[in-house]
C-alpha cells in the first residue's frame, strides 16, 4: 500500500537572526494509512518542524514531501491551504478554538469553508461528532466556558468533521492533566480503530508513546530507527 505521507531526503532550515539553523537533516520517512503514529523527541529535536511539513503547513528547504501523493513544495499557498482543508485535520496543544464561536459553530467551521454539504447534512455530521466526543450537553457553550479536556474534545471533533485522510495532533495532551490526557488519547485511539483515520502525533510524553502503533524518534533533526514497532505497541496494549 502506498504510504499516505512520504518524506524523501527532507532538509529544513530556519533563519535565526543572522545564522541559519538546520531543524531537519536528510529525513526519510513513510507513514502508512490508518496508522497511529507518534513522533517523539525532546524539545528542540525538530518534532514540530516535521509535523508542519507533514501537515502541509510548511514546505521543506530541500527534498520532497508527499501528502496523499501530492508534493507540497510544488503547491501554491492557495493550493496548500486547500490541501489542508480537504485532507487534514488539526489538533493543537493549546486547543486553538475560535473564541467567539460556540461548540457547534467551531466544529462546523471547516465544513463551511469546504462547502458542498446541505445544512441538514452538516448538522447531522456535526452533532454526530459532538455526541461522539461526549459534549452533547455543551453544544451552545463557547470555548471560554469549557474545561481544557472539553476544549480538546471540541478540537478533535473539528479535526474530524471533514473526514480527513490524516489528523495531526501537536502535543495534544501537553496542556492537560494526565487523566484527561489519557482520556483524549483514548478517544483518538478509538476513532482510529473504528474509522481507520490516520493519526500523527508529536509528543514527548512516554504514556502517549505507549499507545502508538509506531513511534518515530527524532533527535537533533534526525529521525532515528523506529524504537517501538507497531506490533510491540499493539501487543503491549493488548
Amino acid at each position: 500500500m502506498k504510504p499516505i505521507v512520504e518524506l524523501k531526503d527532507v532538509v529544513k532550515d530556519y533563519p535565526l537572526g543572522k545564522v541559519t539553523v538546520r531543524a531537519l537533516q536528510q529525513v526519510n520517512l513513510a507513514l502508512d494509512r490508518g496508522e497511529f503514529t507518534v513522533i517523539a523527541g525532546p524539545s528542540g529535536s525538530g518534532k514540530t518542524t516535521l509535523l508542519n511539513l507533514v501537515g502541509g503547513i510548511d514546505v521543506p528547504t530541500s527534498g520532497e514531501v508527499f501528502i496523499d501523493g501530492r508534493e507540497t513544495s510544488l503547491l501554491s499557498d492557495g493550493a496548500l491551504t486547500a490541501l489542508r482543508l480537504q485532507k487534514l485535520g488539526f489538533i493543537f496543544q493549546s486547543f486553538n478554538l475560535i473564541n467567539v464561536l460556540d461548540v457547534v459553530q467551531n466544529v462546523e467551521f471547516p465544513l463551511l469553508l469546504q462547502g458542498g454539504l446541505t445544512r441538514a447534512e452538516r448538522r447531522a455530521r456535526v452533532h454526530g461528532l459532538i455526541e461522539r466526543v461526549g459534549l452533547t450537553g455543551q453544544v451552545r457553550q463557547r470555548p471560554g466556558e469549557l474545561s481544557g479536556g472539553q476544549r480538546q474534545r471540541v478540537a478533535i471533533a473539528r479535526a474530524l468533521v471533514t473526514r480527513p485522510a490524516i489528523v495531526l495532533a501537536d502535543e495534544p495532551t501537553a496542556n492537560l492533566d494526565s487523566a484527561t490526557g489519557n482520556d483524549i488519547i483514548e478517544l483518538m485511539r478509538e476513532i482510529n480503530r473504528a474509522d481507520h483515520t490516520t493519526f500523527i502525533f508529536s509528543t514527548h510524553d512516554p504514556e502517549v508513546m505507549k499507545r502508538a502503533d509506531r513511534v518515530v524518534p527524532i533527535l537533533d533533526g534526525r529521525v532515528e530507527a523506529d524504537t517501538y514497532s507497531r506490533s510491540q505497541a499493539v501487543a503491549e496494549e493488548r
Partner: protein, 723 residues
C-alpha cells in the same frame, strides 16, 4: 446555501469579535462614532447655511444668476467685503438684447437691470441748519423766528465756548482757542444781534464764515447705491419690503435707504442708545449688570447736546415742562434737565424711553435724512468727473429675515435714471444742454480718422457750412461715431467743452444726422430697458430652472458679450463665505479622518498582532488568505456600521434639537448667513447615509493594511512554539 451560511457565520464572528475585543472596538468605534456625528451635524449645518444663504441672497438682491459684461475688469460683488473701493464691472452693452434673449429661455421669469455706484451725501452741522433758517427768516422778515433763532444760536455759542475752553487746557497753541472764543463771544453780544437788523448781510456772512466752522464736523455719508427698476425689483424679490415711507412711484426718481443703515447710521445717537438699551433689556440684560450698557448711558449723558441743540427755540419750554413733569422735583435749564433725564437706570428706563419718544423725538431731527426730504447725491464718474443728482428719500426698506444683517444693509436702492446720471450716463435734457453749449461755442467732434482734414486741411466749404448752419437743438451728442461706451463719452465731452475757446473755423461740427444715428446705436432712447445697465439679476422659476450654462449658451448664441455667474459668485464676500465654510468643514473632516485613520490603523495592527494565534489556526485548518481578509474586513464593517449608525442617530438628535431651538445668529454677519435671526438646520437622509458610508469606507481603508498583514500570518504560528 453554503455561501449564505458562510456569510452569516462571518457576520456573526464579526459581531462577536466586536463585542469580544472591547478596547479595540471602543477606540475604533468611538472614532467612527464621532466621525459620523461630525459629518451628520457639520454637513447638515453647512447644507442648511448654504440653503438659507442662497435664499437670503437670491431672493433679496441677486436672483439665481447675475449677468455682467464678459470683459469686466473686476468680479461682480453685490455685497462688498471690507473695502468700499469701487469695482469696475464694465457695462452690458445691449441690455434689451440680453433681456429678450433670456426671456425666450424656458424657466426664466424676469431679468432685472441694475447698476452699482457709490455716492456721497454731505450733511451740514446743526449750526449750518440754524444759520440757514436764520437767513431765510431774515429775508422774509419773520421777526418772531429771527428772535427765537438768535436766542438759540446764542445758547449754542455759549455752550461751544465751554467746550473750547475745555479743549484749550490741552491745546498746544492756546491762541487758536482764544480767537475762537472771541468769535463766539461776539455772537453772545446783544450788539451783534442789533447789527443783524441794521446790516443783515454782514452779520449772516460772519455767522456762515466764522461761526459755522466752529460747530462739530459735518458728516459725509457714503452710500452704495444699486440702481434698478424699483417696481420690477419689488415684484421680483419677495423679501424686499418697504418699512417707512413708501415705494418710489414707477418711473419717478427716488431713493430708498436700507432700514438697518437708517437706524444705525442716520438716527440721532441719543435715540439710538435708547433703542439699544431697550433691545438689551428685552434680551434680559440689565443696565446694572452690564458694564457695556453703563458705558453707553454715561456717554449718552455727555453727548446730550445732540438733543439740546436740536430742540427748536419754540419747543424749549414745552420740553422743559415735560421733563420736569417726568422727573418730579427737578428744575433748572434744559441742559441740566437733560443731563438728569439721560442718567438712565433699570428702574427709570421704561418711563424715560416713553417720555423720550413722546416728548423729545418729535421736536428734534430724529434722523439725519428725514423721509420725504430731497437728498443731494454726489459721485465721481469713472473718469473722475463729479456728478450730482437730487432725489427724494421716499422711504426705508429691508429684506425680510435680514433685518439685523449689517452686510445686507450696505446697499441702498435708487431708480435707474438717477443711477445713470450719477454713474455718468447723460439724460436727454443734459444731452440737449450740452448740445446748446457746443453750438454756441462752435465746438464739434473730430473723429480720429478725419482729424487731420478737419483741423488742418479741411476744405473751406465745409467750414462755411458749419458756420452758417448751427446744429439743431436736440441733436449733437458727445462722442464720435465709433465711440464705444458712455464712460468714454463722459471723458471726451468735458475735454471738448474745455477746448471750446479754440478758434471756431478750425473745427468742423459733425452733421447732426450723423451724430444722431451714431448715438442711436448706443442708446436708442432712454426707456428703462434700453439705457445703461451694468449688471442684471436673472430670476428663475424654481420648479423649472434652466442651468446657468443654458443661459450662457443662449447669450453666446446671440453674440452678446455677457457672463452669467451664480449667486454665490455674484454675492462677493458672502458667497465666498459659503465656500470658506465648506472648506473649513472639509478640512476639519479631513484632519479628523487622517487622525482617525492613523489611530484605527494602529489599533487594528495591535489587535491583529494579539490575534496571530487565532489567524494561524484559521490558516492551518484551511482558511484561505482571502477569507481571513474577509473575516477582518467584515468585523470592521460591522463595527463601522454600528458606530456609524449610533453616530448618525446622535447626530440626528443633535440636529433635531438645533432645529427645534434654532441656532441664534450671535454675530450680525450670521443673520445674513442664517437668512434670519436663527438657523433651523435640517438634515437630508441621503446625507446621513452618505456620512455612514464615508465613515465605514474610512474604517475599511484604514483596516486594510493590518488585515492584509494578518492574512500573511503563517499557519505554523498555531503550532507549539518553534523548537
Amino acid at each position: 446555501m453554503n455561501g449564505l451560511d458562510r456569510l452569516a457565520l462571518i457576520l456573526w464572528m464579526g459581531a462577536r469579535n466586536v463585542a469580544l475585543h472591547k478596547v479595540k472596538s471602543f477606540v475604533v468605534g468611538g472614532i467612527l462614532f464621532f466621525g459620523t456625528l461630525l459629518l451628520v451635524v457639520g454637513g447638515s449645518l453647512l447644507l442648511s447655511v448654504q440653503d438659507s444663504m442662497e435664499r437670503s441672497v437670491t431672493s433679496s438682491l441677486s436672483g439665481q444668476a447675475q449677468l455682467y459684461s464678459a470683459d469686466a475688469k473686476d468680479d461682480l460683488a453685490l455685497f462688498p467685503g471690507g473695502t468700499m473701493g469701487s469695482m469696475d464691472i464694465g457695462e452690458i452693452s445691449d441690455f434689451r438684447g440680453v433681456h429678450d434673449t433670456l426671456l425666450a429661455v424656458p424657466g426664466v421669469v424676469d431679468v432685472v437691470p441694475m447698476g452699482i455706484t457709490d455716492a456721497i451725501v454731505l450733511q451740514g452741522t446743526e449750526l449750518d441748519r440754524l444759520i440757514d433758517r436764520l437767513r431765510a427768516a431774515t429775508v422774509v422778515g419773520d421777526r418772531v423766528e429771527v428772535a427765537m433763532l438768535s436766542t438759540e444760536l446764542g445758547t449754542i455759542a455759549q455752550s461751544l465756548e465751554g467746550d473750547i475752553q475745555a479743549a484749550q487746557a490741552a491745546s498746544a497753541d492756546p491762541a487758536v482757542q482764544d480767537a475762537e472764543i472771541e468769535i463766539l463771544r461776539r455772537v453772545g453780544d446783544p450788539a451783534f444781534w442789533a447789527g443783524l437788523e441794521s446790516e443783515p448781510e454782514q452779520a449772516l456772512t460772519f455767522l456762515e464764515s466764522q461761526v459755522a466752522p466752529l460747530g462739530s464736523d459735518g458728516k459725509a455719508l457714503y452710500l452704495r447705491l444699486i440702481g434698478t427698476n424699483l417696481d420690477q425689483f419689488e415684484a421680483c424679490f419677495d423679501r424686499f419690503r418697504v418699512v417707512d415711507g413708501a415705494q418710489v412711484p414707477a418711473g419717478e426718481p427716488g431713493l430708498l435707504i436700507s432700514k438697518r443703515f437708517y437706524e444705525t447710521q442716520l438716527k440721532n445717537p441719543i435715540a439710538q442708545v435708547f433703542d439699544e438699551v431697550r433691545q438689551a433689556r428685552d434680551e434680559g440684560r440689565t443696565i446694572a449688570d452690564d458694564p457695556l450698557l453703563q458705558e453707553e448711558v454715561r456717554r449718552n449723558v455727555q453727548q446730550r447736546k445732540r438733543v439740546l441743540f436740536q430742540v427748536g427755540p419754540g419747543d424749549v419750554d414745552a420740553v422743559r415742562e415735560g421733563l420736569m413733569a417726568a422727573m418730579p422735583g427737578s428744575s433748572g435749564d434744559l441742559d441740566t434737565l437733560l443731563q438728569r433725564f439721560l442718567a438712565l437706570d433699570d428702574a427709570n428706563f421704561d418711563a424715560r424711553y416713553d417720555t423720550f419718544y413722546a416728548l423729545i423725538a418729535p421736536r428734534i431731527r430724529l434722523y439725519d435724512l428725514p423721509i420725504g426730504e430731497t437728498v443731494t447725491l454726489r459721485s465721481f464718474t469713472r473718469s473722475g468727473y463729479a456728478r450730482a443728482a437730487n432725489v427724494v428719500l421716499h422711504g426705508t426698506f429691508t429684506f425680510e429675515g435680514l433685518e439685523r444683517a449689517d452686510l445686507a444693509s450696505v446697499n441702498h436702492l435708487v431708480d435707474l435714471t438717477t443711477f445713470r446720471s450719477l454713474y455718468g450716463s447723460m439724460s436727454d435734457e443734459q444731452r440737449a444742454e450740452l448740445a446748446d453749449i457746443r453750438a454756441e461755442a462752435g465746438v464739434g467732434d473730430v473723429s480720429r480718422d478725419d482729424a487731420e482734414a478737419a483741423l488742418f486741411g479741411g476744405g473751406a466749404p465745409v467750414v462755411m457750412q458749419a458756420v452758417s448752419e448751427p446744429a439743431p437743438a436736440p441733436a449733437p451728442a458727445p462722442g464720435s461715431a465709433p465711440q464705444p461706451t458712455p464712460a468714454v463719452s463722459e471723458a471726451v465731452a468735458p475735454l471738448v467743452s474745455e477746448a471750446a475757446p479754440a478758434p471756431a473755423p478750425k473745427v468742423r461740427p459733425v452733421p447732426a444726422a450723423v451724430v444722431s444715428s451714431a448715438e442711436g446705436r448706443e442708446h436708442p432712447d432712454h426707456t428703462l430697458d434700453d439705457g445703461l445697465v451694468l449688471n442684471a439679476a436673472v430670476v428663475l422659476d424654481p420648479d423649472d430652472a434652466p442651468s446657468l450654462s443654458t443661459l450662457q449658451a443662449a447669450l453666446d448664441a446671440e453674440g452678446l458679450e455677457v457672463q452669467v455667474v451664480d449667486w454665490k459668485q455674484a454675492a462677493g464676500l458672502i458667497g465666498q463665505l459659503v465656500t470658506v465654510l465648506q472648506v473649513v468643514l472639509w478640512v476639519g473632516v479631513l484632519v479628523v479622518f487622517i487622525v482617525a485613520m492613523a489611530i484605527i490603523n494602529n489599533t487594528m495592527m495591535m489587535s491583529v498582532m494579539e490575534r496571530t494565534q487565532e489567524v494561524g489556526t484559521l490558516r492551518a485548518i484551511g482558511t484561505s488568505r482571502a477569507m481571513v481578509v474577509g473575516i477582518f474586513m467584515v468585523e470592521t464593517l460591522v463595527l463601522g456600521l454600528i458606530a456609524g449608525a449610533l453616530g448618525a442617530g446622535v447626530g440626528l438628535a443633535v440636529v433635531g434639537v438645533l432645529h427645534a431651538v434654532g441656532i441664534p445668529a450671535a454675530a450680525d454677519i450670521l443673520v445674513l448667513v442664517f437668512a434670519g435671526p436663527r438657523l433651523y438646520p435640517v438634515v437630508s437622509s441621503p446625507w446621513v447615509l452618505q456620512s455612514i458610508g464615508l465613515v465605514v469606507l474610512v474604517a475599511l481603508v484604514s483596516a486594510l493594511q493590518p488585515t492584509l498583514l494578518a492574512a500573511r500570518t503563517s499557519p505554523a504560528v498555531a503550532m507549539s512554539p518553534k523548537e
